[in-house]
Amino acid sequence: MSRRSTPAGARDRRMARFLVGCYPPSWRARYAPEMLALLADAGVSPRRAANILAAAALAWLRPAGHLYSPPARVRASLAVVFSSWIALAAAALLFGQLYEDESLAPATPRHPVTAGLYHFYVTAAHVSVAILAAATLPLGALLLSSALRRRAYREVALLTLPATASLGFLVVLVVLSHAARNAGGGLSSRWFLLLTALGLVAGAVAAAGPVAVLRRQAPGGLLVVLAGLGSGIAAFTMAAATVAAAANALAIDAWTASTMPLHAGAPTLAGYALFVMVVTVIAVVSAQRGARALRSTQLRT
């Protein structure tokens, strides 16, 4: 191996920054300057870039223990998995329910396959909500009581964001549903996509409140572990519900495309599937990191 005699070019430096940027933040905080120096010395070949990308993926999956605080990692995982659950729930609710709402999409003869998918979606979504509620409400009550005791009303407001954001979105949904019914037709694909985007924004706002309080109060102990485990199980269940909702939509599209006003089409469904996949992968990776941190900390005791 020979040392490069010429300084790394601007393209190499940009590529080096991109490659180092693929690592987790805690890794970058510790090793980024020296790896950038190494790449400035050695250059960025395609083989080296592939090696760094593979190592970066492993660093996300299995971060070195000395780079983070285990209790903070567990809280961060809980926040990510909880946010993922809300995103998946918003997507499942919109896609599944809008396709079934007769005011938005006039009734069509029920095919046994779509009926089965719909029942699976409804059951999985309800089970997921029940698991999440059972797992996170004790921690939520703890955070709320702590905020009330300290008269931290901003934290109280943040903790109520899931309810207020959901309520706000439901109001928009009801208004639009009435408007569509009065117009005598279903919901156009454009409005459907807009509603989906609004639902995701509402979901992000709903997740942001408790996550901010979680970071501020930094609780530990069994309730955090319980909330983390429950959120993980609830997220997987909700991911299954979203897959069933997408399959249901696909089946309805295939059989009723000519008569149904609400017709998402293959590109929308593909985008939806990609979204679900990305959110699920993020949740899985984060849950795995949290579980790993849990094994190395005293949180269990």
């Binding site: 300057p33 020296e34 790896m35 120096a37 080296r48 090696n51 760094i52 593979a54 070195a64 780079l67």
Partner: protein
């Protein structure tokens, strides 16, 4: 003996062997491993190894010099490397005896 470091020609062992000579920064380790052991370590692999060895307390970072941070073996790292070398030596000795039996079978 640490199983993660024990496999033959594993990057952790190569890095520890390189640092046994003297403290080195990342690029110097890559060059040394390539020049003296004939193995080309990727930058991603190297820093994954550095993070693991640091996590286990086998190496430690020295103050950075112009962004380049040298590393050195700790006392625990030296002990681990000794164990690995002993293990490799016993495996090599056993392998040599068995190879000798194959190449020089009794009664041949």
């Amino acid at each position: 003996m640490n199983e993660d470091v024990g496999r033959w020609a594993d990057p952790p062992l190569l890095v520890m062997a390189s640092l046994a000579e003297a403290p080195k920064h990342g690029y110097a380790i890559i060059r040394d491993v390539a020049d003296t052991m004939g193995v080309s370590l990727g930058a991603g692999t190297l820093y994954a190894v550095i993070a693991r060895l640091e996590e286990r307390g086998f190496i430690e970072a020295l103050p950075a010099q112009d962004r380049r941070r040298p590393y050195r073996l700790t006392a625990a790292g030296v002990r681990e490397l000794e164990l690995q070398v002993q293990h490799m030596r016993s495996v090599a000795s056993l392998a040599a005896k068995r190879v000798h039996l194959i190449t020089h079978p009794a009664g041949a």
